[in-house]
Symmetry: C4
Subunit: 279 residues, 4 copies
């Protein structure tokens, strides 16, 4: 984690270096213990919120759970302040990905003092668990994530085109079904019709609203066929890009004699002319 | 946009050239401003229609929204006339892709004078937003679209075969379920049964109609298994074609001797004339 | 169609050859006319059955529609007899793919004399429309179909393994949900539970039966996650095989000089060493 | 099956060798007969349980079916004991994959003496049918299974990343929908909301619980769009890995000099030692 917050050597008091090691490092023994404890507390905190939302449990243990939640919040607040203190550039940390998440994990409880119900957003703490990738030393995982995201990034322009086409289809079919079926069959407005169209075209199909007139069912069929056709599109885009990414991972070296490239990682000789390959 | 409508140089009065620049060009400053304004008005117009369809809002603000819609319609009508006037071949524009869409965006309001409810079709204006690809100078987007459509085109014969098979399956299962379940369980006719079969095989599954007898549920299971198997088919077709398109696309290099392009990544010599390719 | 039924030259009376040309040939002018008429009658016949199944139409025009259906049936019966007569090996035709379908298209009406409701199975006639591939001279379509089926055939062993795994999962989850939810929540038996499990794991999700207890919803979530994971499997299997099939279509010729194979159809020179390729 | 349980030659009495041949061998004639009988009894036993769970059948034939189930259980118990006796390392068998399954197939009936309803878990016997792969001499099937599982194993790290992302999305949307819709619309707690979110994002969409407020429907739409986007991810991951596996599998040829196998189709020289490969 030295990337963002190298502690300035000239002003580093001992306890500050110690705290930095604990809260930011993942490789030292004390860093590991801290990380594991942190993840347990995060999960515990989210679990408490889930329990608190269940009616029967809420009425009986609501007070205890709320107190626990406040204890967690205080702990996380202290930790956030410590993190800000031990880095050389507090602002840089505050604006980093994990810095923002750490803040998001605190806010709901404080907001709940003003807005009832806001404390359920404490589940945003689950986002902190993404730190697990760094914690468990999962360089390989981060690499995997990067391959996945890389493919997503490469295909995002195609996906933008796709989403715009979807929006157009949904809007038009939402209006058509609203005209055909009307409020008496549950399609109370065009936005409701668009909601139904999205639910249909994505093959979710709740069935809370569904066409009852033959004409409406005909248009629903057309919409479903369209959806059936285009569900292949994002999968196809993504798979093709991912396959290309995976393929490229393989072939680096070209043969010095015949120039043939595309050898596997494990190859020692050119598969085209038999010349020795460079390692 | 010079492709379709080069203004004839001999009769070009200044204002006509000026209007052409505004409504058709996307690269000039005034062209850009016009485009952005246009998109905003399109979105506003569609938004107004959506709001108008909501019952509570309709009763209270219905009049205002209707008047706004008429203002937009007049604006679009004027624009359509201007577009027709400033091009050298008005008919050619009227029959072009964007020309038809522009007309479609006007008709619903005028039709609403004769048919109640028709004005909701104003949402067809959302189609005009597809012009965004040209507006935002998105040559790359259009290229992306063309790759997507290219793959669709290449696989359309396979998809036709697939759709014919689907139609056969749906018809037969629609009749079977109608015979087994009958009108008392909601399957009022074979077309209704076919609607249910399509909804099932596409994994949408509204559940508004569903088999209740054990035999009906058995046939539904068979149908679902078939659907489960063949949902792979369009995805597979499309993905395979797209992957092939992406692979072929990769080769930028053209041969210096004969100009043939479209070589594979690993090619060292032109496959057309045998000349060495540049790396 | 000379494949199956070459008319014996020694006994070929003129009218027999003539009839063969009409009903079996697709390339002659009279053969084409016959084919188009046939498809229209098939579609008409299926359409009549669909209309007949609609309650309102049935009560009013039921008699007319039934009479039309009998006319079609007599026509198809005559045609079937003619087909049997003009081929040299009637039994071989009767057992061929199209022969069986032609018979299936006749049976429902005759069965309806004994079993009420059987005449709705007349929709099986839609199967005859598959002949469209041969009729419209669609060698290319048949080729497309064969690529699709080829990939299906190649992956059938993998799909068998997959289906066996599905059956195991569905049986076990069907029993679990039956024990947890029981008849009072709609899961009246293990087979019903299995039906629900199939509907869930295939992401159809009618919602006619769904778990209401927290424990049942938990197991439903586990099942859905499993389904979410394995829906990728058939798609993956099929896509991978199809991509392989498409790839193989491409590369036939190897270079005589360096032996490099995998050239595109359009290549004239080896892309590896620049040597001329054989056509 | 000599892998696990070679009978010790010094103490092998004749009947022990005989029993081993019957219950473990699949290639001998008596082994085959035993296997086929076993599969039939397994299917029969599961079928009896399914029938027993149907209310009408249960009240009438419940006693007979229960007695049959006990007969099967005694048979399976005897078989399990025999299996343990004829192998040299009983414990090693008991802990093997098939050993655990054989035990699981016995337990439910004995547990049903203490817990009512447990005997429905007899369907776990369906797991024993997986032995079919070994029984029917399906080396090729096991190979197919191994390719499928291999691809799953290779992609498991990517899938873990994907599942963690899913969990995060589901938790957050579950809380949001609980806050927006609340218990009056069926979202009685955050876990219920998470259940709904999973059902939605996986495109199952039962519709037993679904948002009714416009804001809830908006968030549902966002969730569905996310689900629509990420359903491509597991399919993409798996397909890409499977395609890579299939590609690598294709190469049968081993090098004559060093024995290295796994060359690509297009390889002419061994990539390990540079020796020329046979075509």
């Amino acid at each position: 984690m030295a990337r963002f917050y190298t502690p300035a050597p000239n002003e580093s008091t001992k306890w500050r270096q110690f705290l930095f090691d604990v809260v930011f490092e993942h490789d030292t023994k004390r860093g590991k213990w801290y990380d594991v404890t942190l993840i347990c507390i995060i999960l515990l905190s989210v679990g408490v919120t889930l329990l608190d939302s269940i009616d029967g449990i809420n009425t009986e243990y609501g007070n205890v759970l709320l107190q626990m939640e406040w204890v967690f919040t205080v702990l996380f607040t202290v930790e956030y302040v410590v993190r800000l203190m031990v880095v050389t550039h507090p602002l840089r940390f505050a604006r980093s990905f994990y810095g923002v998440i750490d803040l998001l994990a605190l806010l709901p409880m404080y907001l709940s003092l003003f807005f009832a119900g806001a404390h359920y957003l404490v589940v945003l703490r689950i986002l902190r668990i993404l730190r697990i990738f760094e914690i468990l030393h999962m360089r390989r995982y981060t690499k995997e994530t990067s391959v996945l995201l890389d493919s997503l990034y490469k295909s995002w322009r195609k996906i933008f085109v796709f989403l715009l086409a979807m929006l157009t289809i949904i809007t038009i079919f939402g209006a058509i079904i609203f005209i055909i079926e009307g409020p008496e069959n549950g399609f109370t407005s065009i936005p409701t019709g668009m909601y139904w169209a999205l639910v249909s075209v994505s093959t979710v199909g709740y069935g809370d609203i569904s066409p009852v007139t033959p004409l409406g069912q005909f248009f629903a069929s057309v919409l479903i066929l369209i959806g059936y056709g285009i569900i292949a599109v994002p999968t196809g885009i993504y798979t093709a890009e991912l396959a290309a990414s995976l393929q490229k991972r393989g072939d680096g070296r070209a043969c010095g004699a015949c120039g043939h490239s595309g050898h596997e990682h494990t190859a020692h000789f050119c598969m085209q002319c038999g010349e020795k390959l460079n390692a």
